[in-house]
């Protein structure tokens, strides 16, 4: 469980370049939740998630992971980073090793695990992201395609065996098929174990597919927080924040505006299809 209390953060405080990123964020993320974190550019999303594993020390307030204050002087930061893994934007840019297997082993090795354990973690992590360790393990990460490199980077964080996985715009720059595959992968990972997933994205469709709860940040504050359906039902409020709603919901809203009495709080393509058929069938 991650709990933040009155988080404030100012970048370069006390300089002419200072910029306020967070102005009092208090929220709780429970174990096993799938959370979509959305908000306009500069709303503080990336800053917020970087406080979750102590990469950014907030200027005020603190974060508790499983009840432990992670900014307390004696807190074990390495353990926190093992439990709360963060995949940055364009994570393929962090690859550096000669082979895929060695790069994935960077995390578990930093944890000081014995070699056999490291090797089995690497195998597991590569399997989990759909790359065969036998074929890919010995290749140089720089010879892979963009999508494959990104999966290697994801394997690199999964090899830490985290309980919370934070993904900062994980599909940015991938082609549509790569995006769909990556989202399926996230779903699969969540279903596999008791993993908490926090997804930052600009795509409302991705939120609709992955998240059961949506947190909307705006100008460093929580603007909305609730079950995905409820948040997307407030289309006007989202519009005001220059955020949209998923395409399926848009279609339903337009149909309703044209006089077809469909429900508008549906998110997936299948739900929308069934609803339209139901209404047409009764009409």
């Amino acid at each position: 469980m991650i709990e933040t209390r009155d988080l404030h953060h100012v970048y370069l405080e006390g300089t002419p370049m200072s910029a306020v990123a967070l102005r009092g964020v208090s929220l709780t993320i429970r174990d096993g939740e799938r959370v979509g974190l959305i908000g306009p550019t500069g709303s503080g999303k990336s800053t917020l998630v970087q406080t979750f594993n102590a990469l950014i020390r907030p200027t005020r307030g603190t974060v508790f992971v499983d009840g432990v204050d992670i900014f307390a002087p004696k807190a074990d930061r390495r353990r926190i980073r093992q439990q709360v893994a963060l995949l940055f934007q364009y994570p393929e840019q962090q690859l550096f090793e000669e082979t895929v297997a060695r790069d994935v082993s960077f995390g578990p090795r930093n944890l000081g695990l014995p070699e056999e354990e490291v090797a089995s973690r690497v195998d597991d992590a590569l399997h989990a992201v759909g790359l065969d360790p036998g074929t890919f393990g010995s290749r140089s990460p720089f010879t892979l395609s963009g999508g494959e490199m990104r999966r290697v980077a994801l394997a690199g964080v999964l090899a830490m065996a985290p309980r919370v996985l934070i993904l900062d715009e994980p599909t940015a720059g991938l082609d549509p098929q790569g995006k769909a595959e990556f989202l399926r992968l996230i779903h699969h990972l969540h279903a596999r174990g008791n993993l908490t997933v926090i997804l930052i994205t600009h795509s409302m469709d991705e939120v609709a597919q992955v998240a059961e709860r949506v947190i909307v940040l705006n100008e460093g504050l929580v603007a909305m927080d609730g079950p995905t359906r409820e948040v997307f039902a407030r289309a006007d409020d989202l519009e005001r924040l220059h955020l949209g709603i998923p395409q399926t919901a848009q279609v339903l809203h337009r149909l309703r505006a044209r006089g077809l009495p469909v429900r508008t709080d549906l998110l997936t393509l299948e739900e929308a299809r069934d609803e339209i058929l139901r209404v047409l069938g009764t009409a």
Binding site: P16, L55, I56, R78, R81, F88, Q94, F96, N110
Partner: protein, 273 residues
Amino acid sequence: MELARNLTIGQYIPRESPIHHLDPRTKIAATAALTVVIFVINDFTGSALFGAFMVALFLVAQIPLGYVGRGLRPVLFLLLLTFLLNLFFSGIRDGTPLIRLGPVVITTEAAARAFFIALRLVLLVVTTSLFTFTTSPMALTDGMERLLRPFRRIGVPGHELAMMMSIALRFIPTLFEETERIMKAQMARGAEFQRGNLLRRAKALLPILVPLFLSAFRRADELALAMEARAYRGGEGRTRMKELHFAPRDAVAAGATVLASIGFLVPRWLGLP
């Protein structure tokens, strides 16, 4: 983790002061002149007066003095080293002994000398930082390019040098951001950079340096392509959007610098105390 925080030296602070609006060439020349003056001044009275003069200039430039202090922080080690070296190896043997540590004797004169040299370094940093605080990197390279133009005949590629410099300056903040991002990404995978002996720390840098170099090369490639796509082909026959013009205020500033320099230099030439 915020690397940029401690990097005020050589950072432009936008303001609407008369010094900001000066032609960069005036500022380059004035900075050069004042640097010479710093080296000619050789007593505390002169240094104090020069210091007061600089404080006045900073007030005119609307740069808070706190930034000047912060700009000195990175050179603190160098200052201390200079001071200690001069204290112990000044070669000044005679004079009043101040401290006696076994065979080592530090005289009052040597201490004064060491302090003076450190002070001179401080004045140098302060003077040049007034220039960098008030001159945008673009203005700086424009001024440099223009000043180098007469040397083109003897083969000095002024435009190319200025272009390289502005590109380098432009990418310093980018590289810092990138370093920070990559460091964080590796820290998220349990990397630690401040632990262990020197060898371990050096090895810990590899996961930062490899990605950093890769992305720097990629950026260089992309930039070169973008420049060629806009038909960039060096300085030959190139016109500029912003022409540099000397304004009356430049004459005033130049005159003031010359007067101040004379004021500082004359007593020294006359052999006055």
